[in-house]
Symmetry: C2
Subunit: 437 residues, 2 copies
């Protein structure tokens, strides 16, 4: 796989940030090692980053990553090694894994992701079968993908507190399905280990919770390496009671948009940045890519037209949006040829195993690149994220290392977030995992 | 790095063995995972394998591997990831590592190995300095290698129970020195973690102990996957009281040589193998490559001539040989062009991180390829050892996977061997680690 060289409009501060991360590598890695002694990383995770040249920050953290097919196959061995560690930690006794994918049967890219995941798990030495939640899968069904790969979907059976497919009794259920419509009954109260846990699904998880934890993580890390936490942390606020169709809660939204724009403006002034500040308004739960808008002025969220309101009101699986996050927008200043590019970093257990650029020719530097129906070109990272060279400032591996550090901070935030959710569920302070609708 | 395809004279049994290993992958990996819950892998390890087409077995296990420069640089990221795991386990709090190499200052290949090791440790996020045991290194000394790389050797200082170099106070001392001449006083009774432990050095370690443990490991594993353990385990015996120069102990040697040759002959008959059996006689302690001979008839070890006796009597650092191991010789049937080739597998913590072929044009299939002054060409494995494809029997990644499994059995034997040695030292059943002579 050939990976063209990215051009990045590097201005001072990011080069500074990279330098700080590299200069503090031993302290930073030691701190991270300490964190992983206290917090268990989720099985896997992908983090969308935005790199504005002056700022490098996560904007979305996915606990059911669906783009393993976009990674550089030359580094699949890193994934295999990390899967071995993940299995060792959570289920050393496992021989069989049931992989439960999203209910897509026509999205070739997604299905290729499932094929790659299955292959990585097999190479790590476990037997893998694919259990589908689709009601129409009533018998083993083999799909042949456009690239020739084959994929066998099998109906999941429930026997007591276990799930099986065709007599195959797995030790672990690995979800690659973000449970946007809730946890189906067939997966509830299993005696088998479910990874990630059901409460990592979107009926329980909230982006604002994640970014609240991330803020604490980023502040501690920024203090450790002596930087302004804002350089790695986007401002955000949450509006909890929105009803777009009934035009309720717009004042809350408008107020936070104004507040965050003001805060960004102050920081831009401090750093001499001349771009226009912008914020992203998005659903607090659910898959990134729907229910999302770019806003540069508070007045834009007042009196949305019908089309805009409909767009914001629902996300994947028809889930209604009542909770909204207003997040500082981070420009992406990385380009591949004429297209804007945004890095996505993949992690298994607590290891960075690769990543790719989401490249989009039709979108601007201030827009979400993970849009519905978007035709992004994935562009795998050419080198692993673990080979920085402090003697060669500005070299791509240093950039990848910086990505890997920030992505791991988001991963750590996820680990803490899931712990907190679990504790809240146990104490009854949070609602139970919703059943599938 | 281009790696030519190896040709292997595959006969039935090895293809069978590969097939068995692949068919039992989930069981085998699960068993290994269980073993690593009970036994801590050494920091790193390399294993010399011999692949005779009908048999695949370790013949030497090195706990201070010196060929990291021979690995495929494309897979250095696997090493970095494994180093991160190794450090996490044994010293998560570490920021600084003192690497103590062999006392070679002119062996370019070895020094390149030290450069690569230093780089891998740095990329894993620790500060590394190189502390030399050479008495002539009294001040920081920078060497420039033939390939342009630079290496700074610094004198080790002892302060109380710690070692330092020039004010750098490491948390960990990583030995890449096999302590053939004993553990120097400066490294004894340190409060810093020493990896591998001093008792992994050759004044304490015995090959016969290692292969005794390996025999148990191989038998258990062979039972698990349903194969004859002989297919992965070479016969051996130990003669404890040899004095080559005084011609003492030759009867013991001759007796064991005869016994092992008979045992091999019986197995060859069972499997219809027509080659001549042979054994390797080697020093029970000390670096492979000296004090070693190929024997096809018991009479060969009686009445050795002066030259042969001198060759066998001493190994590295002038260490006298009084203990000898007689080990079943395993033919190497792998070739690169016209040269015989023997695989060497590298592991960090319990992960296979790569390997290379030791290729030698001047030697036969029944000879040790790690001979003094040998001019071997190292040939890095083209793919990682973790990407077997059961649907493509005979493909190189399947061969590499098989190598990785057998190498990990030897690694596991090392882990158990070091535990046993430590217990014996603690109970006083074994002599203390010898001081440097």
């Amino acid at each position: 796989m050939t990976v063209p060289r990215l051009t990045t409009a590097l201005s001072g501060p990011l080069a500074d940030l990279e330098r700080r991360l590299l200069a503090s590598q031993a302290d930073g890695e030691r701190w991270l090692r300490g964190q992983w002694q206290d917090h268990a990383a989720p099985f896997y995770c992908s983090v969308d980053l935005r790199n504005s040249g002056f700022k490098l920050a996560p904007v979305d953290t996915n606990l059911f990553p669906g783009g393993f097919n976009n990674l550089n196959p030359e580094f699949h061995s890193l994934c295999v090694q990390a899967v071995m560690t993940a299995i060792e930690k959570s289920c050393p006794d496992a021989r069989g894994v049931l992989l439960v994918p999203e209910n897509h049967t026509r999205n070739q890219f997604y299905l290729q992701n499932v094929v790659v995941l299955q292959q990585l798990l097999r190479q790590a030495g476990v037997n893998v079968r694919i259990g589908s939640l689709l009601p129409e899968i009533t018998a083993p069904t083999e799909l042949t993908l456009d690239n020739g790969a084959k994929l066998k979907l099998e109906p999941i059976e429930r026997r007591g507190n276990r799930v099986l497919v065709d007599g195959f009794d797995p030790c672990v259920v690995l979800l690659n399905n973000d449970l946007s419509s809730g946890a189906p009954d067939i997966l509830r109260n299993l005696e088998q280990t479910v990874l990630p846990p059901l409460h990592a699904g979107w009926t329980v998880r909230r982006k604002s919770h994640h970014f609240g934890v991330y803020r604490r993580v980023a502040e501690e890390f920024a203090k450790l390496i002596g930087i302004d936490p804002w350089l790695i942390n986007p401002y955000f606020e949450k509006c909890g009671k929105i009803n777009f169709q009934e035009k309720k809660g717009e004042e809350c939204l408008e107020g936070y948009v104004a507040e965050i724009l003001d805060d960004i403006r102050a920081k831009y002034k401090e750093y001499g940045i001349t771009q226009d500040p912008f914020v992203i308004v998005k659903a607090d739960a659910g898959t990134y890519g729907m229910g999302i808008m770019t806003v540069k002025d508070p007045s834009e969220v007042r009196g949305l037209n019908r089309k805009q309101r409909n767009k914001m009101a629902v996300v994947k699986e028809g889930l209604q949006v009542h909770e909204v996050m207003v997040q500082e927008g981070v420009y992406t200043f990385e380009h591949v040829e004429d297209a804007v590019a945004e890095p996505v970093v993949y992690m298994i257990d607590h290891f960075v195993v690769g990543g790719f650029y989401r490249v989009h020719t039709q979108r601007g530097q201030d827009q979400n690149l993970n849009a519905p129906g978007m035709e992004f070109r994935p562009l795998a990272f050419a080198s692993p994220c673990s080979s920085p060279n402090p003697d060669d400032p500005g070299c791509p591996p240093n950039r990848f290392y910086a990505y890997g550090v920030i992505a791991r901070l988001a991963l750590l935030a996820s680990a803490i977030e899931l712990e907190e959710t679990e504790a809240a569920l146990e104490s009854g302070a949070a609602p139970r995992v919703a059943a599938a609708s």
